[in-house]
Symmetry: C2
Subunit: 382 residues, 2 copies
């Protein structure tokens, strides 16, 4: 049920002609009684107009509606792009009888092209007319770009819920997240509590997806609370539920990444700090030679060590251990178990690196680098 | 004539069976009268045994011979790997009647496998017997791995020369360099002068090649001076000639990079500092979405801006200009000239980014990301 699983939310998705076919405009409305919200956004310094707009909206900690469109990122579009985002918020506000300053906007698609505003504004009207308490799935479908399937989640609390949707298949490496995502809850929670829960959640979920090392201009994750359940969970309960929802959605991103044939978990253990573990995991995740080796079902641990060696993390080269799908192919920085013992025929791959430098750990999720990735991304805008 | 173009050097390349076919062991000997030398090495913290050995040799500033092998990197091979390198140096020293501490070693090939020492040592004997004043081309051929052609250079000074050879086609991104290279000169120069010239040269040549973002464990560039010309150039003359030689070899690396269909110069201008320009250029060079777009002949400047946005360089997003092959497709952070005006049908591509933040500049050389790169690197070790 996506974002409409919690009480107090309606949503819709319509086809407005922004894409050649399929739904492309979504609307999520928080009917309250409360309207607290939090958001995290790309740390890319080249930010799309809707990101700049939504960051302003979130400053007040109140969001009553979110308009999302695929078929265009509205990024690198100059002052006109920001005016277009403003006009979109005004149109939704008018249709809903609320203020435009309470309407967040998310866009995704090609960078550098202005949105066809005539089509988008009619699409906003259509979504407002189509709002429904079971509209979550349509909204999740309308935000897809190269995604092959909609991605949604529901996490049950004690008398309250978190629902969510996400899109993202390429340009998929976090500055904070990597995609558009709207999470909803009918819990009673302040904007500050939502912000704390959302940052805790994204830090260990979306932030640790690194499919292709490329950070987007449009990454946005919003968390909206209606309070409609009447239940006020503790900060820990809220954070746990939001983290579970983000984790589920993040795994769906990795599972549907452009052209991927492998879903790879890089578990770095024995690190002197969590930051070290993340740095090492990300270095491996972004190494094209590791990624092509995985595509070729090759447990090439030498490339993994070469990637580890480029980091500033604490470790001694002759103390590094590496396991691929449970086989310790490298111990003490040199060959150990036979690499032929590694079974890479399946889609799931786990790389475990023990730095032997401490007790911290982190997992980064990534994909292989395949012919299909090259094909899809060499033909996207032309 | 490669490394034997300057007076005072002999070289050889033989087939010792380390690779399935072709030459695979090279020897370069400095017959003097002088034997000053300098070296720069990978900054990867996971360093191959021959790198650790050669760093020790270079500490004294004297190199009388260099043994190079393809067919195995001798990286991540533990204490045995270092013993093997030591034994190789001893064998060459014995054959040449010099000390092992004056013999540098370079290895390249698969990481993590021990070298077949019986074959290698017989190969060292064979190269010592085959040493010739015109042996440079054979040496250049013997260090090839996935290179499709040997890469050599000669730069003429006033009565003296610099000669050189390089190998490298993958794992091609600098910590300092990205490959094995031996440069020779018959100039009279101290080890300190050679070191200064070599560091100045690699900083603006090999260090600015970033083919695939992956830093090797074995990168080594050596500069040997025989003094046989009797000419002592100024520091500036020496640096200029060594820089010209390194630049020529670096361009040959980019031209022969694994699976590449484009040779891309990323010129970053208007930077607040040279470091900023290098950071921006490298971020673009390492962005897989930019690289696949170039493979698809797509002047996708939005992806270029997204890559620039991930850096800490000084710039304002709405002041960025981007030209692809001379067409300013982006001005002021938004679309400008028609992207259809860009001709990407050729192999040479120039991306020019103006940060409008100062007066410094730097150029990074890279390649596209092609099906052939994925194919070659998914099938390398298996």
């Amino acid at each position: 049920m996506s974002v409409t699983a919690p009480k107090g939310f309606r949503a819709a998705g319509v086809a407005a002609g922004l894409k050649a076919h399929g739904l492309d405009v979504a609307l999520v409305v928080n009917d309250g009684p409360e309207a607290a919200a939090a958001g995290v956004f790309t740390t890319n310094r080249v930010k799309a107009a809707p990101v700049l707009w939504s960051q302003q909206v979130l400053r007040a900690g109140v969001v009553r509606a979110v308009v999302l469109n695929s078929g265009g990122a509205n990024a690198c579009t100059g002052p006109r792009g920001f005016q277009d985002t403003h006009a979109t918020a005004e149109r939704a506000a008018e249709a809903l009888g609320i203020g435009a300053a309470d309407v967040a906007i998310c866009s995704t698609g090609l960078i550098g092209e202005p949105l066809p505003m005539d089509k988008l504004l009619l699409g906003v009207d259509a979504t407002a007319s189509a709002l429904a308490e079971d509209g979550g799935p349509a909204a999740a479908e309308a935000i897809m770009t190269t995604d092959t399937r909609p991605k949604t989640t529901v996490v049950e609390g004690a008398g309250w819920r978190v629902g969510g949707m996400v899109k993202g298949a390429g340009m998929l490496a976090p500055g904070m997240a990597t995609m558009l995502s709207v999470l909803t809850t009918d819990a009673v929670a302040s904007a500050e509590a939502l912000d704390a829960a959302l940052r805790a959640a994204t830090r260990v979920s979306f932030d640790r997806v690194d499919s292709d090392g490329c950070m987007s201009t449009n990454d946005t994750v919003l968390l909206l609370a209606s309070g409609a359940s009447g239940v006020a969970p503790s900060a820990a309960e809220l954070a746990a539920a939001v983290t579970a929802a983000c984790h589920d959605l993040a795994q769906q991103l990795v599972a549907d990444a452009e052209g991927a044939t492998k879903e790879v978990a890089i578990e770095v253990v024995g690190a002197a700090s969590e930051d070290d573990a993340v740095e090492v995991g990300r270095s491996i995740a972004r190494n094209n030679l590791v990624k092509t080796a995985l595509f070729g079902n090759d447990p090439n641990w030498g490339r993994i060590l070469a990637a580890v060696g480029t980091t500033a993390a604490a470790f001694e080269p002759d103390a590094l251990d590496v396991a691929v799908n449970g086989v310790w192919v490298c111990k003490g920085g040199a060959a150990a178990e036979e690499r032929s013992a590694v079974d890479l025929s399946g889609r799931a791959v786990t790389i475990r690196v023990d730095l032997h430098a401490g007790h911290d750990a982190a997992t980064i999720w990534t994909n292989d680098l395949s012919h299909a990735y090259v094909h899809e991304n060499s033909a996207y805008s032309t």
